[in-house]
């Protein structure tokens, strides 16, 4: 029982950490001439990296908003899990926690899809997707699975 609890919490925290890293570090595309993120574009030349804020387009702002929302919802769901752990009746399901976590995973999914679709417009042709982009795509199924586990789980003693 304790093992199950620890495993669930570990999964949730792993998804949360991935979300944080992918939003903050955010090396979404990179190439040999520099990298580009949700928040700024950096090019490297002989004098070092030169960073400028990202364009003020609507879609990149939407991706920023959606990634931040997914972090907020995942944090809320973790807090709710601990609340419900102590207040739920025996046999009850963690619906609220699962709902928030599934919503967080949907937000990540829409954010990464928007970024993938709009990326030809934003980035150079010879840039390739960086590790933060991959982390975001990994965080989505992790959060989805975690949310589904919450919905299915029943509280035992």
């Amino acid at each position: 029982m304790l093992l199950l609890l620890l495993g669930i919490i570990f999964l949730h925290v792993a998804a949360l950490v991935l979300l944080f890293v992918s939003t903050i570090v955010s090396v979404w595309v990179s190439g040999d001439a520099g990298s580009s993120d949700l928040w700024r574009n950096c090019t490297t030349d002989s004098l070092g990296p030169d960073c400028n804020p990202a364009s003020t387009g609507e879609w990149i702002q939407a991706v920023q908003a959606v990634m931040i929302l997914s972090i907020i919802f995942s944090c809320l769901s973790l807090v709710l899990f601990f609340c419900q752990l102590f207040t739920l009746q025996k046999g009850g399901r963690f619906f609220l926690t699962g709902t928030f976590q599934i919503l967080a995973s949907l937000f990540v999914m829409s954010g990464t899809i928007i970024y993938t679709v709009m990326s030809p417009e934003w980035v150079n042709g010879n840039y390739s997707f960086g590790y933060s982009y991959i982390l975001a795509w990994v965080a989505f199924p992790l959060a989805l699975v975690s949310g589904l586990i919450y919905v299915i789980l029943r509280k035992r003693e």
Binding site: L47, P53, T56, A65, I68, L69
Partner: protein, 203 residues
């Protein structure tokens, strides 16, 4: 003790490594302006050296879609020289303060043909190695959306909906509970009223 510290700091400043002696120039990244209005393009620099008397600022302009840039402003030897032949003649004014490392210019009466990239290059001899900084000027008829507004709006709307749903849920629960409570009170009250009447009849 104090003299020792002063000597040490002077020595350290003298042995500053080559890399940190690059001059760093700051302009904005993008500037938006309305047609017909004035726009101030700021340019300042950071340098490890004191501001020398031979400090120079120069601005060049590259229209959108063109590969050539023309020089429109130069400040040297304490005298600013503004454009008197090109697209900005009579529209350019120097509003900077070279003593405070500020080389800003003011462009009056913006037009759509002023869309382009303005590059500021500052030199503070002997600190002359640096990367010029460019600011993109976009001229609009109406004010466009600023960076971060849409982000904040989306986050605010979703969180607001969440709070609204929570409030409505608790309100419904409260109302339903109150209704149940008032119903049970009225039933209890009726029973109480009938009680003494029955007793009177009995008697």
């Amino acid at each position: 003790m104090l003299t020792f510290l002063a000597l040490a700091s002077v020595l350290l400043l003298g042995i500053v490594p080559e890399r940190s002696q690059a001059i760093v120039i700051y302009t904005g990244w993008e500037r938006h302006g309305l047609v017909g209005s004035d726009i101030r393009l700021s340019c300042s620099f950071f340098s490890w050296r004191w501001t020398s008397e031979d400090v120079t600022f120069s601005w060049t302009y590259r229209p959108d879609g063109s590969r050539d840039s023309i020089s429109i402003f130069h400040y040297t030897g304490g005298v600013p020289y503004v454009d008197n032949k090109g697209p900005f003649r009579d529209r350019l004014e120097f509003v900077g303060n070279p003593g405070r490392r500020d080389g800003s210019i003011l462009i009056k009466n913006l037009d759509f043909s002023d869309n382009g990239t303005f590059t500021c290059d500052a030199k503070n001899p002997p600190d002359i190695v640096g990367r010029p900084s460019s600011v993109r000027v976009l001229v609009f008829e109406t004010v466009p959306i600023q960076a971060g507004v849409i982000t904040g709006a989306i986050i605010g709307v979703v969180l607001g909906l969440l709070v609204l749903i929570v409030v409505i849920y608790y309100l419904m629960r409260f109302l339903v509970a109150r209704r149940v409570f008032s119903l049970s009170v009225s039933k209890h009250g009726k029973k109480k009223k009938e009680g003494p009447q029955q007793r009177q009849i009995k008697v």
